[in-house]
Subunit: 335 residues, 2 copies
């Protein structure tokens, strides 16, 4: 349970995983137990495919870290960590239907292996299971936080449907979308960790702010990497957002400075969805011309700074250091 | 607020609606208010299409009736009634995606008017909104009931995916499926009405039993009507389950008594989905040959009797009479 010494060279999320190993083992057991279904064998099949594909379990670790950092000694934080992972998995299943995705984490998606029906209904099942888990903690404040986060997530996803392919989408709308699709669950994850530990309001607020800023930085970086990151090299994970015509921060920055000719290009490829060979390279050249990637990275760095400020309001603790390093690490992927 | 006198000839759900008119007006206002979204205009568009299509609002009336019958004087039962209607609407949106339906209540479905994405995500939004509403009541017991009902609903839907086209599906599995897809929300609706009214356990249990039996009778009748009811006439609402290859009670009864030739027919049309002109008429002829429709109707009548028995455990009240007549009316559609 000590993250110092020879593990120092590890990535912060791996050090968190080491420190929280006992808790995470309990969370994983809870996830396996609750994703089962006596009546519908399709449910564990689909869920196992996704849950055991080896995601980083970042969100449940945030809940565990927040609670442990504040000296929590019970086990309800494990239920909440499993809750958060179930909500995340449910949204992934529904996202893959919405995006018509064929691969996630290098494996075929559930909607491809089974069908859209299974992804929709098993997502609903996991969401219900998460709901049962949080009710078991008996904390109305936790239920309130997670109900609000769920609504923000769904609202952000619907907003993205209409805003993503519209060149009028500005940075304020983009921020709303990514708060919904990513940051709302990060901030709920850290906040409920504080609430279950019985922390005072200022501490709970700082945990919310940290999760919110971390989630926003994380999603901006993800959106930058989709255009090849700082290297701007086309790789196998490059161009998904472009092909799905999602207006993300780098493109919003480039559209704001576009020449008439560039604007016509964005209208064609994003709004009209008329994409041809070479268009992705052309998009990346335009982003580079307007320094859009490094501007987006500056925004991510600003959110990392806010995450750091939020942590300053929390007690000194090895887990606090790991959370700080995590926020820096997230953005280092594009530096 | 009096359901007697000149309204006597009305159908029971209309008499319930008259009696509960003030409550229902408040519930409808709550529904309109909570289906709004500041950020995502697509949400009220899709929801209004469905919510205002004029469903019977049967489920919220069950919650209101249960609470009022027990003398409840607050307003939390209205929140729970809106909760139940939101959960119902969310499941309809997802069902239409799963069933690839094109029409509901005589109008094009949301997945056809917008797209599957909108139906999935707006369904998620409504489910989250329902969750917020129930948290506002501050009753952990209510939250527990609705969390369990949500899981039962999703599990039943997934079970139907795999069981529906499998001739090995028997009456026990069918019962599980329809408890999930229909009865779980009926029984939760009546049960939470009793809980919010502070009723003793035996009363709450009787309300659960009534809702469960009513929901099962309701779904069996729906499945009978899909084969033309007692008249066995092909109408515009006939044959949807057959075309979707759903193994419902009449077919399960006929399969159990099938000759080798009939069994080959069911294997072809249900399991293999190889359907040709005249097959629906052929299916109805086989159902008729084995008296499958009237046997299924007898099951529905047995559930109505259980609904009546459950009501015997509740205090005498005009609303109790209406609930009794409702249970009889549901089955009268196929008598």
């Amino acid at each position: 349970m000590d993250g110092s010494g020879e593990t120092k060279a590890k990535a912060p999320q791996d050090r968190l995983a080491d420190w929280l190993a006992e808790d995470m083992a309990a969370v994983n057991a809870l996830i396996r137990d609750r994703m089962a279904s006596k009546h519908a064998p399709r449910i564990p099949e689909v869920t196992a495919h996704l849950v055991e594909a080896g995601g980083k379990r970042l969100r449940p670790m945030l809940t565990l870290a927040a609670a442990r950092m504040l000296g929590y000694q019970g086990t309800d934080h494990q239920k909440l960590a499993a809750t958060v992972e179930f909500i995340h998995t449910a949204t992934l299943l529904h996202d893959d239907v919405v995006d018509e995705s064929e691969r996630r984490r290098g494996r075929p998606t559930a909607n491809l292996l089974w069908d859209n029906k299974s992804s929709v209904l098993v997502g609903d099942y996991l969401f219900s299971r998460s709901f049962q888990l949080m009710v078991e903690t008996g904390s109305l404040r936790v239920l309130d936080i997670l109900a609000n986060a769920s609504a923000t997530i769904a609202e952000g996803e619907v907003l993205q449907l209409t805003a993503a392919q519209d060149l009028a989408t500005d940075e304020a709308i983009y921020l709303q979308v990514i708060r919904g699709k990513t940051a709302a669950l990060f901030s709920a994850a850290t906040e409920v960790g504080g609430v279950i530990a019985g922390a005072p309001d200022a501490t709970v607020r700082a945990l919310y702010d940290y999760g919110d800023a971390l989630g926003i930085a994380f999603q901006i970086v993800d959106d930058i990497l989709d255009y090849g990151g700082s290297d701007a090299v086309i790789g196998k994970n490059t161009g998904d957002d472009f092909r799905e015509r999602k207006l993300t921060l780098p493109v919003i920055k480039a559209v704001a400075r576009a020449s008439a000719e560039e604007r016509a290009f964005w209208v064609r490829v994003i709004e009209k969805g008329d994409q041809r060979d070479g268009d992705l390279a052309q998009a990346m050249a335009i982003l580079s011309r307007h320094d859009a990637i490094s501007q987006a990275r500056d925004e991510a760095l600003a959110w990392t700074a806010r995450a750091r400020q939020a942590l300053d309001n929390l007690p000194v603790h090895p887990l606090r250091e790991m959370l700080l390093e995590l926020a820096e690490y997230v953005v280092a992927r594009v530096s």
